[in-house]
Subunit: 187 residues, 2 copies
DNA sequence: GACAGTGATTGCAGTTTATGAAATCACTGT
DNA sequence: ACAGTGATTTCATAAACTGCAATCACTGTC
């Protein structure tokens, strides 16, 4: 038999997800999470930089996907449209199929300021990555950052709607709508 | 003589500012800050919710000013212009005169991820406050949030430039320029 | 088949952040 | 005089994180 049960990281993530859902983030200790996963507190911190990170395993994957899509996009497409197309591609791949899980996670994060803070931090990192990808396409750095910020604004507006129970339109469509809203709002 | 030296809060802020500047945020303990201010660690936490908050004393004041300006603005002005005008008014009051201090603080925050995270959090709170102020003017909540987000994008772009040593134009002017950049970028 | 090397996990000691509860005591108003 | 206020302090404690050394199934090599 193997020395340890496999998939330690996934088990920790699952345990954390459950416990945060049951008791809330701040009433759950890292020791508790580790115990439910059949591991040690020390091992938790070997895998995650801090208690919050356990909820953000997918964000790096998401970021890579977006950047890849932007790089793959036709150079003739206006920058902001390129960003939104990339978001739409990622929406299909990473959001649409896991609506239940995404909404559940959204609810957990929404219930705790520390987690919201980390979410903002991830969003900022994604913004910078998008800006870098746009800059690689030849866009001026400052305009690139502005465009990336506008793209994230679109993303936020769309996700906001998409996570509401009443909403049934696909995220892809909501992204288009949000982009249109932004354009009329800003002009 | 008074039982305690006056201005405990200010002394803590000043001590923290100095120490973060000298040794960096993470190599400074709360006990150290309190000691330099002639107070106790416990007293520090009586005044500030956590170690980071000591650097964000002005953000609530800033937020109030912005919201006040927006409410005072003519109802005929397009929403985004109202927001940028409010930011310009606050820029004159709270930034232009303290350029040195603002830049120093900016440098400290820039050097530490935890502080950046908190900065983002304050920014998000300000965004929400602006959106609420716009909603109070009759704007649809979702459009209000989008407009507020666009306004903060303008603010960020302008501050970014303003804190660069080479830049000499007043913040007010940079805000106008950034708004123009956003408009051409998004359309 | 022995055997050195790898790497995920663990135990433990220690620092730091943060909080709750009770005590102090100059100052205030009556 | 004297009770009440409130900023501060002391003490105790939980919980988050870190550094370091040790474990030991697994891997490949000779």
């Amino acid at each position: 038999m193997p020395r340890w049960e496999p998939d330690g990281v996934e088990r920790l993530q699952a345990a954390a997800f459950e416990l945060f859902d049951e008791q809330g983030f701040e009433h759950t200790t890292v020791a508790e999470i580790a115990q439910r996963a059949g591991l040690t507190q020390r091992t938790f911190f070997n895998h995650f930089a801090d208690k919050r990170e356990v909820l953000f395993g997918l964000s790096s994957e998401f970021q890579q996907e977006i950047v890849r899509e932007i790089a793959a996009c036709a150079d003739t497409l206006p920058p902001l449209d390129a960003v939104v197309r990339a978001l739409q591609a990622a929406a299909d791949t990473m959001f649409e199929e896991r609506r239940a899980a995404v909404t559940r996670r959204h609810k957990i994060v929404d219930a705790n300021p520390e987690l919201q803070e980390r979410e903002l931090s991830k969003r900022a990192a994604l913004t910078d990555a998008i800006a870098a990808a746009l800059h690689a396409r030849g866009l001026d750095p400052e305009i690139a950052l502005l465009t990336a910020g506008a793209g994230m604004l679109v993303q936020q507006t769309a996700i906001q709607r998409w996570t509401q129970p009443a909403e049934s339109r696909p995220l892809r469509e909501l992204l288009s709508a949000a982009l249109h809203s932004l354009r009329t709002t800003v002009s």
